[in-house]
């Protein structure tokens, strides 16, 4: 008899342990089973769709769509307040940002340039927008962008980083963990999917702040753009893109118009305090910069319709014909399908339509 005698308790314990281990192994196997050998198409986790940041805003039908404020370099605060007051004389920004809202402000911090060269958003404009958001009761104000060069350098050099810190807003840096690709759109009619030109399920977006925000405000400088023609409110959304977005240059108008379709903002403010008239978007020479472009004085343009805003700025500030800007027409066409389905309100490629309807307010401060 060479075996050690085993007690009943030990036998049961061993059997139970073996059964549990076997059960766990089997359960694990079944849960992780991949029968088809699925191809992991992208190593980025996918997200939901993008929300409509204009949803829930009771914007009166008769209100101006575009508000133009001409002012002075020393009167940025008055310019910002006047622009928002022009859109809604009664409530101003409070019409758009309510108590408890999480606001994401998207300035242009794309380049390692000081603010006076006009490649990035004027930090003072950002400062007053942040303050007004707080006054309107926003619970969180986030500021983000994904620049080409080192984010730390761009935020510091452009003056945006210090302003965000001083005003107590949150600076969201484009760390790689914050990017996602969009999930297939839950659009039963399939309209949004077919309307887009680019396969957006292959492109990472700076998803995290977009997901957390309830309101989106774009703060774009008005610039010449050597390839696209102009870099204004719509081109500003480029800063949400990650990956090798330089490839999108091969179809730049399709890409910009797709971004106009994907992102329905609360508001856009075109910062024309310093307009880069030539050598855009990077610029680098003071001689290329003019306050207010053609108008000669600093200008701010606030609008609920980014497409019309671009159209207006292209003609009245950069002094060019919007008919020669292909992405305007493309964007309007794509948004049209959304407007017909009642999911969006604004997407007009020709600003003169608003002009003829008296929906452009012009103020001087």
């Amino acid at each position: 008899m060479t075996d050690r005698p085993i007690t009943r308790r030990e036998c049961l314990a061993r059997g139970a342990g073996a059964a549990v281990a076997a059960g766990l192994a089997a359960a694990g196997g079944f849960l992780l089973h991949d029968r088809e050998g699925r191809d992991p198409a992208t190593d980025l986790p996918s997200a939901g769709g993008l929300r409509d940041f204009f949803a829930g805003i009771d914007f009166p039908a008769g209100s101006p769509r575009i508000a133009v404020v001409v002012g002075h370099e020393q009167r940025i605060r008055q310019m910002v307040q006047a622009a928002l007051a022009a859109l809604d004389p009664e409530l101003g920004l409070k019409r758009f940002v309510g108590r408890g809202d999480v606001v994401l402000i998207k300035p242009n911090v794309g380049f390692d340039r000081p603010p006076h060269l006009g490649a990035t958003t004027h930090p003072e404009v950002l400062r007053w927008v942040i303050r007004l958001c707080r006054e309107a009761g926003a619970s969180r104000v986030m500021v983000t962008d994904n620049p080409i060069e080192s984010p730390q350098a761009c935020f510091a050099k452009s003056g945006i980083g210090p302003v965000v810190q001083a005003e107590g807003a949150e600076l969201v840096l484009p760390a790689s963990g914050r990017f996602r690709v969009l999930a297939p759109w839950p659009d039963p009619a399939g309209q949004q999917a077919t309307a887009a030109s680019i396969d957006w399920q292959r492109w990472p977006l700076l998803w995290e702040p977009l997901d957390q925000a309830t309101r989106l405000i774009g703060l774009a400088p008005v610039k010449d753009h050597n390839l696209a023609g102009g870099s204004m409110a719509l081109k500003n959304w480029y800063g949400f893109l990650g990956g090798r977005r330089s490839q999108l240059h091969q179809a730049i108008h399709e890409a910009i118009s797709d971004l106009a379709l994907l992102l329905s903002p609360t508001l856009v403010i075109a910062d024309a305090t310093r307009v880069m008239m030539r050598s855009g978007p990077t610029g680098g020479r003071l001689s290329d910069v003019s306050p207010g472009g053609k108008l000669g004085r600093p200008v701010l343009v606030a609008s609920v319709d980014p497409v019309a805003c671009d159209s207006w700025c292209y003609q009245n500030l950069l002094d060019r014909d919007p008919a020669g800007l292909p992405y305007l027409e493309l964007a309007a066409r794509k948004i049209q399908s959304q407007i017909r389905a009642g999911r969006r309100r604004f997407g007009q490629s020709d600003w003169r339509v608003y002009g003829s309807e008296g929906r452009i307010a012009t103020i001087s401060v």
Binding site: S150, A156, H225, N226, S246, T282
Partner: protein, 552 residues
């Protein structure tokens, strides 16, 4: 003498509190605190001053590299190769002069690699038999002197011989350079990868695996051979050991009290034979032996022990000559490949402010500080682009990053002046430097076979768009037969910053626009064809640009 069985102290010991204070003020306790604080400061400074944090803690900038500046081996070797002592390296006297009095205190009190080696050895020795006197006596102790400890002197001689003929290779094994390099290329990225989203995205370093494995191998060696690196390989330890033959203070043994028990070897860090004739060049001044001796026979005193000591290391003349020859021969073998002169690699691009290649190789100690502070991660530890001597020297890789226009961080941290501390005005040719022109790292070239508008009829303009110079060095032009405008580089404006290569959508290692070292300003003065990398005929110089002048 009556001894307390538990503490081993004399039975008439002082009251408890005084005893505790005396314990805390033991030299070894103080030493451990100093070692820990030094290592902790180094690691935290390095972690806190990665490029993104550099601006938040500007006061730390001058202190992060202090250990390199006090490194006597770096000072000695660069003085040999350049016949000058560069700027802050004079601080090495702070270590050199006390060594002449106290011996190799640096190795066990300050050197962070020494601390790490000691720590790993301590971890593994807690169960080791060396704690109790072995039956065989001191000859079996892991801390006995071994002949292999002479190797570090040969390493030092070889490195010094190499330096005498003009090639600086001390950085490969210098412990200070090694620890900075390993922290930068191996340890810091691992820390970043374990804390995603909190710190910046993990940085990449070519060949980081080799740097990391070297550190791991040296640390692991302590498990088998205590203080392996310090005793067997360290050229800085060898240098300090040679200097300590002049030292005044050393461990003295009183033979009347000594019982020959060999307990002093139990924790001897230097394996310096305190139980017989002390080997002064090996003693790391750890004071463990004094604490361990139950008879109180050892002390740190000013005179040689009565029974004598060995002042200098035991070196065989033949080995010395061989080591010297090895060092001397390294130079012609390394240069013989021609990678530094005529067969230079066009892809070898050095940081802005770097000296001309031969001068650079005489100064670079491969500490990789420039690599750590670079904000875009473009500077990488080199491989063999510059031949054998170029290992771990900084080279730019524009697939990973680009040289930021207004940044001069690399020159500010270089301890030996291989990269000069330039101003932004010098770098970009602004203000009074306009006539001298900007510092060019190289020139961008378009590859029409890969470029989309050239070869595929697809619109693109990314390089032109991102070119940061004013006026832009890349413009687009419409060529007959091409549907979309194609890029064209203006050689007189391009500074080789590499942003175009970084952003080119035709990605991978063969980009449609890429930067080569041709036209780099640091090599343009040289009429010798094999070191001059000009492409265009330079304009007649009015004066030698300040940034291209050789060091004073």
């Amino acid at each position: 003498m009556m001894r307390d069985a538990q503490t081993g102290l004399p039975a008439d010991r002082p009251p408890r509190l005084l005893h505790a204070c005396r314990n805390a003020l033991r030299v070894t306790s103080v030493r451990i605190v100093v070692q820990t604080v030094t290592l902790g400061l180094l690691v935290s400074f390095v972690l806190l001053t990665t490029s993104s944090s550099l601006d938040r803690l500007p006061a730390l900038r001058h202190w992060v590299g202090k250990l390199l500046e006090v490194d006597p081996l770096a000072a000695l070797a660069t003085t040999i190769t350049t016949h000058r002592l560069y700027k802050a390296l004079i601080w090495s006297l702070v270590i050199l002069i006390p060594t002449l009095f106290l011996g190799r205190f640096f190795c066990n009190w300050i050197c962070p690699l020494g601390t790490l080696n000691q720590f790993v050895g301590w971890l593994s020795s807690s169960a080791r038999a060396g704690q109790r006197p072995s039956v065989e006596g001191p000859s079996a102790s892991p801390n006995r002197y071994r002949r292999s400890q002479a190797t570090k002197y040969y390493v030092l001689i070889a490195l010094v011989a190499a330096a005498l003929v003009g090639t600086l290779q001390t950085g490969l094994l210098d412990p200070i350079c090694l620890i900075y390099r390993s922290l930068t290329a191996a340890v810091l990225p691992v820390a970043q990868m374990s804390a995603p989203n909190l710190l910046e995205d993990p940085r990449l370093h070519q060949g980081a695996w080799l740097i990391g494995f070297l550190l791991l191998a040296l640390l692991a060696a302590n498990l088998f051979y205590p203080r392996f690196f310090c005793r067997v390989l360290c050229p800085l330890g060898a240098l300090l050991g040679l200097l300590s033959r002049l030292a005044w203070w050393r461990i003295q043994r009183d033979p009347t009290r000594c019982t020959g028990c060999g307990l002093c070897l139990a924790h001897c860090e230097g394996a310096c034979d305190p139980h017989t004739r002390l080997r002064r060049a090996e003693c790391l001044v750890c004071f463990n032996c004094i604490e361990d001796c139950p008879e109180g026979a050892l002390r740190f005193g000013c005179l040689p022990s009565r029974q004598g000591e060995r002042a200098g290391p035991d070196l065989s003349r033949r080995q010395l000559v061989l080591a010297g020859l090895a060092g001397l021969v390294f130079y012609p073998l390394a240069r013989g490949s021609g990678r530094v002169t005529r067969d230079f690699s066009s892809r070898l691009i050095r940081p802005p402010g770097a000296l001309e290649e031969l001068e650079f190789l005489r100064r670079c100690i491969k500490c990789d500080q420039c690599i750590r502070v670079c904000p875009t991660n473009v500077i990488q530890p080199g491989w063999f682009e510059a031949g054998l001597e170029g290992l771990w020297t900084p080279v730019l890789n524009f697939r990973i990053g680009h040289c930021q226009l207004n940044c001069t961080a690399c020159g500010q941290v270089c301890p030996t002046g291989a990269i000069r501390p330039i101003t932004v005005a010098q770098k970009l040719g602004l203000g009074e430097m306009t006539e001298a022109g900007p510092i060019r790292l190289g020139t961008a070239h378009v590859d029409p076979g890969r470029c989309l508008p050239y070869s595929a009829g697809i619109a693109c303009q990314v390089c032109e768009e991102v070119c940061p110079t004013s006026p832009k060095a890349i413009r687009v032009e419409t060529l007959p037969g091409r549907q979309f405008p194609v890029p064209r580089v203006d050689l007189s404006l391009c500074i080789g910053c590499g942003l175009c290569e970084r952003e080119c959508p035709v990605a991978g290692d063969r980009r449609a626009i890429y930067v080569t070292a041709d036209g780099e300003t640091r090599s343009q003065r040289y009429s010798q064809a094999d070191r001059n990398r000009s492409v265009r005929l330079p304009a007649p110089p009015r004066s030698i640009p300040k940034q291209d002048r050789l060091p004073e």
